[in-house]
């Protein structure tokens, strides 16, 4: 079914149940359902929104984001949540790429939103949460107040319609919009909630941004089950967040490795915080086994799920918790109702323990990248039947004799840092835009907290007085925070191929302490 129907169903089942706990209070299912109805009506009457149009939500973790997501679906539209640290030029790229009709943002981000929208002629309406209406933007409250309670008359739409675009880094440096239908989202959420044994009485606390599909699905899955989502904006102050596990009686707590690393080093972790938690999940990068065992000590009542996924199919694999002690470094088996295998360069399955590319088959696989047929053709290939496509992940894996998968590395240059995919090319493009930079290469340095820490290797022009802080400041002004290099190293020269291309692979190998590949690479 269409995904917004889950909100209506959960509201019918128990309208008084709290759907979202957020910085302004608590919103019940009945309230969220009514707010989504009104937002849909506002899109249609206040912005002339038509079926299939795109509404971009440039917002942090707040109730308006949840309203915007379900309201857009109810208006038969397509939503896309964009990371609030995105800079104006990239936001403009996204707005133009998806030809957004409506842009919803918040007061703190309005200058960036306005700068981006000025470059995006498709944007007809800018809505600002926590702001005042003026000539350029309408406040969220005014936008809602001017609309009828719900769309007038039936809104068309079926479950194979596009529901959302999730923008992800591409190796070319330009973001790609992953297309997911209602049916894709429903399938993925059903599969994941099945193995998590999610229930209506669950309370999930999430600090993950709603722009990150791992964070987004916390909301989507909570609404499917009629559970409660406690929405936090960040994990910068664990001492503020962790006590809420106890006060909200949290049962599910999704993590990324960075958070796990912060939790295991706390000296004052209180057993009370962990008492109600019955499952922890981790994805984005594998947890070091030492952290897994420490987490299990800290959260004695919790099952721990190690998972692996990519935006293009949401989740690919999970390790059943009872396997954790036996194979802590595995990310497990295909999620329920799907298949995975390891393939050679021709797409044929390889024997156990041979490294190859992970291929994913199932109804969670995306429809493609929005208006990017070249990238789509590279990633989606004909599957078992001529009408279906399987996902070639670009991630190198091996599978043991019993069918459990192990992540080995990326096939392309993508670096996984802080659980997010970073295209070194995108960072290098920004570095080259800084006057005085002659050559640049970005590599990932192993880091216990970040997975990989980004390091910029640069050669500066003669006479240029660039310092590391100038370079980092420049990157901060032009990139999302997770793409900003932590380290800068100045070199006299960078190694190059015979055709003059910088040998980033060799530099990456050096950063990992591996032997430099030969010159014939």
């Amino acid at each position: 079914m269409r995904y917004e129907e889950y909100l209506a169903a959960s509201a019918r089942r128990d309208g008084s149940r709290v759907a979202v706990v957020h910085d302004k209070g608590r919103t019940t299912y009945a309230e969220l359902d009514a707010l989504a109805d009104r937002f849909a009506a506002a899109l249609i009457t206040g912005a002339g929104f038509a079926r299939g149009e795109r509404c971009v939500l440039f917002l942090d973790n707040r109730i308006e984001t949840a309203i915007g997501i379900f309201g857009t679906l109810r208006a038969s539209g397509v939503f896309s949540v964009i990371n609030p640290t995105t800079k104006a030029n990239k936001l403009a790229f996204v707005l133009n790429n998806c030809e957004a009709a409506v842009l919803v943002t918040q007061a703190e981000l309005l200058p960036v939103a306005l700068a981006a929208a000025a470059e995006a002629p498709s944007v007809r309406r800018i809505v600002v949460a926590g702001g005042a209406s003026d000539a350029t933007a309408v406040s969220f409250d005014d936008f809602m107040a001017a609309a009828p309670a719900r769309p007038q008359g039936p809104v068309p739409g079926i479950d194979i319609d596009l529901a959302m675009l999730v923008y992800t880094s591409g190796s070319t440096g330009e973001p790609k919009g992953v297309m997911m239908t209602h049916r894709n989202v429903e399938f993925a959420a059903t599969s994941i909630t099945t193995y998590l044994e999610a229930r209506a009485d669950d309370v999930v606390l999430s600090v993950l941004p709603l722009s990150f599909d791992y964070g987004l699905y916390q909301l989507l899955m909570a609404v499917m089950k009629g559970a409660t989502l406690v929405l936090e904006k960040s994990f910068a102050f664990p001492q503020k967040v962790l006590p809420r596990l106890a006060s909200e009686r949290v049962t599910g707590f999704p993590l990324v490795p960075t958070m796990a690393a912060l939790i295991v080093q706390l000296r004052n972790f209180s057993p009370d915080w962990a008492a109600s938690v019955r499952y922890l999940t981790n994805t984005a990068a594998a947890l070091p086994p030492a952290h897994i065992f420490r987490l299990q000590e800290l959260f004695p009542n919790a099952r721990i799920y190690s998972m692996y996924g990519m935006t293009e199919s949401k989740r690919c694999t999970y390790l059943p918790p009872e396997q954790l002690a036996k194979r802590p470094d595995s990310v497990g088996i295909a999620i329920p109702g799907t298949e995975v295998w390891i393939a050679d360069d021709e797409g044929r399955p390889v024997p156990p323990n041979v490294v190859g590319e992970l291929v994913v088959r199932g109804a969670h696989v995306m429809q493609g990248y929005w208006r990017n047929e070249k990238a789509t053709a590279k990633t989606l290939r004909i599957g078992r039947y001529p009408w279906e496509k399987v996902l070639h992940t670009g991630d190198l894996f091996r599978m043991d004799e019993e069918g459990f998968c192990y992540f080995v590395g990326r096939k392309d240059d993508i670096i996984k840092s802080r659980g997010e995919k970073v295209s070194p090319k995108e960072v290098e493009n920004v570095l080259y835009a800084l006057a005085g930079i002659k050559e640049a290469a970005v590599v990932g340095v192993p880091d216990e907290v970040l997975g990989r820490a980004l390091k910029a290797l640069v050669v500066v022009e003669e006479g240029a007085a660039l310092q590391a802080r100038d370079i980092i400041a420049h990157c901060m002004a032009h990139l999302e925070d997770f793409m900003v290099p932590r380290l800068v190293e100045f070199r006299d020269a960078l190694p190059k191929t015979s055709t003059g291309k910088i040998r980033r692979a060799a530099l990456q190998a050096e950063a990992e302490g591996r032997a430099l590949p030969g010159d014939d690479e």
Binding site: F235, A236, F237, P238, L262, N268, L450, A473, M476, A477
Partner: protein
């Protein structure tokens, strides 16, 4: 003392978490304004411990103590007074 806690801390933040431009107001939220991210909080705490010879307990790592320059100064002063030590 020539270099106050505030001056030294401001210099450290500007050096370690360079923002594109502008001064850092004493009461500006370092996290809210994007000057420091979640990993940066740890970096800041480690530096405060070394620079001012204080011990920052886990429970001290809260926005009430660390989210603005003014709060950091007050926090360091409180900690130093509670546990006097040669700087």
């Amino acid at each position: 003392m020539v270099d106050s806690i505030e001056t030294r801390t401001r210099a450290f933040i500007r050096e370690t978490f360079p923002v594109a431009s502008g001064d850092i107001a004493a009461d500006a939220s370092l996290l809210g304004s994007g000057i420091i991210d979640s990993i940066g909080v740890l970096t800041l705490v480690t530096w405060l411990e070394q620079e001012f010879g204080i011990v920052v307990a886990d429970e001290d790592v809260v926005p009430e103590n660390l989210d603005t320059l003014a709060r950091i100064v007050a926090f360091v002063e409180r900690k130093s007074a509670a546990n006097p030590q040669e700087a």
